[in-house]
């Protein structure tokens, strides 16, 4: 196996990895934020709100991520066009990012919900007894404790998301995998570059999940 061609390809590969990580970072940020709102809506006493959030979660959990990515790639420009009244090209990166955020939010929602439900009812009651409003109690008392408990699960889900970002291949975005594939094709060594990509994904996911396991032991009460 000849690895000499990999060195000149390195800057491109790094660029691809940066795009992958950017996608991951914003998707986790947006996904967790939206997921938390969904979890609160799902547990709200308003039946309409909780039904809607429940439907959202079931909906996204029952269709493939790849379908969502492709859907959004075609759909988002249209929808923005209808809202703003003129055609607006937004590019594959943004449409993928929106797809990941909305899709992952359904999964994060379930984690956050389990996290909040694991906090003893006395905590909420104590907060209300102190005169806090619902949002104060959530923000200052419940969520900080819940997030601490569910951190390992949120991180595990994000490692899965890191691997799933490779699906942007479907819409031709030059993430790490796609860059490796095209570089490999250019120099005529597709196998070497494919194995390299696999090895890099493996090393990152594996070491990240080891760290999370350690964290889990440390955070365990």
């Amino acid at each position: 196996m000849d690895l000499s061609n990999i060195v000149p390809a390195l800057p491109g590969l790094v660029e691809g990895m940066i795009l992958t990580l950017e996608l991951l970072f914003f998707a986790v940020l947006g996904g967790v934020a939206l997921g938390t709102l969904l979890a609160l809506a799902r547990m709200s006493s308003n039946p309409v709100l909780s039904k809607l959030a429940g439907f959202y979660v079931n909906y996204f959990r029952s269709i493939p991520l790849l379908l969502v990515i492709t859907w959004f790639y075609f759909m988002v420009p249209f929808i923005i066009g209808w809202i703003t009244g003129r055609p607006t090209p937004i590019g594959a990166f943004t449409s993928c990012l929106i797809a990941f955020m909305m899709f992952e939010a359904a999964y994060y929602c379930e984690i956050v919900r389990a996290g909040i439900q694991s906090i003893s009812k006395g905590q909420a009651n104590a907060a209300y007894a102190l005169g806090m409003t619902y949002s104060q109690a959530m923000r200052l008392i419940i969520l900080p404790q819940a997030f601490r408990k569910m951190m390992p699960l949120l991180l595990m889900q994000s490692i899965i998301l890191f691997q799933d970002t490779s699906l942007v291949y479907a819409v031709g975005l030059m993430d790490f995998l796609n860059t490796a594939r095209s570089k490999g094709d250019i120099v005529g060594q597709p196998h070497e570059f494919l194995l390299l990509a696999g090895a890099v994904y493996f090393l990152i996911s594996f070491s990240a999940s080891m760290i999370v396991k350690r964290l889990q032991k440390k955070l365990a009460v």
Partner: protein
């Protein structure tokens, strides 16, 4: 932005033979079902073997099984698929290579790659569930098996696995549903399963909203009906006396 809504598009002729677009979706669904069910059989068999291996007292065997799980869990599905479809065939013996690349139809070779890929990918997850199920049983179960004079194989066959499987049906259900969703990656190597047919319809007719809506409804219905079916299985097989759904 003008968009011509037309929900009747599925009954329009595609121009190929006497097919209408709905036929594409039916054939796509057929491929999706065939892919997912074949991969699931592999995943269930291999996953059980590996799951048992992980709980065996022999350190070598359980070590190999856990390396297997880490390998298949930490590489993205798409990378694994490319490896099975583009790389592995080049390392087959020559006669097999010719068979895979020339003798069989392209759709058959893509099908084989996806089934093997998805089967192994899912087996690593099934393995973890089986292991969890076995380890959730009280230690007394193994000891009771030995006390009755059963050997290791018999203990697993008659005592541990029947109970473990009944405990892990809920997490196994979600893996089962994942196989159907994950099979959509086959569209990226040109296999005309449900998602690929949807894309093709969208491109041919320019009625992309209708096409993707129908695909979403099909996946959603498939998922929901499988879930209801698995709930029923879970109820039928629940271990009496445990807290699980429908236990008596």
């Amino acid at each position: 932005m003008n968009y011509n809504w037309d929900w009747g598009v599925f009954f329009k002729p595609t121009g190929i033979g006497s097919e209408v677009y709905l036929d594409w979706f039916v054939s796509g669904l057929g491929w999706t079902l065939a892919l997912a069910l074949s991969a699931w059989i592999i995943a269930l068999i291999l996953g059980t073997v590996m799951g048992v291996a992980r709980t065996l007292p022999n350190r070598w065997i359980s070590g190999i099984a856990s390396a297997y799980v880490e390998l298949f869990r930490n590489i993205p599905l798409l990378v694994q698929l490319f490896i099975w479809y583009f790389l592995v065939p080049d390392f087959l013996p020559e006669s097999l290579q010719i068979w895979f690349k020339q003798d069989i139809k392209p759709s058959t070779s893509a099908f084989i790659s996806v089934v093997v890929c998805l089967g192994l990918f899912t087996s690593a997850r099934v393995c973890e569930q089986v292991r969890t199920g076995i380890q959730a049983l009280p230690k007394g179960q193994v000891n009771a098996g030995y006390a009755l004079g059963l050997n290791i194989a018999q203990t697993y066959r008659h005592v541990l696995l029947p109970q473990a499987f009944r405990i892990i049906i809920p997490p196994l259900t979600s893996e089962f549903l994942n196989v159907f969703k994950n099979s959509s990656v086959a569209s990226l190597i040109g296999l005309m399963e449900l998602l690929a047919q949807t894309k093709q319809t969208a491109e041919f007719t320019a009625n992309l909203f209708e096409a993707f809506t129908l695909a979403t409804i099909i996946y959603f219905t498939l998922n929901m009906s499988l879930m209801v079916f698995m709930r029923w299985v879970e109820k039928k097989t629940s271990v009496p006396g445990l807290m699980s759904l429908g236990g008596k």
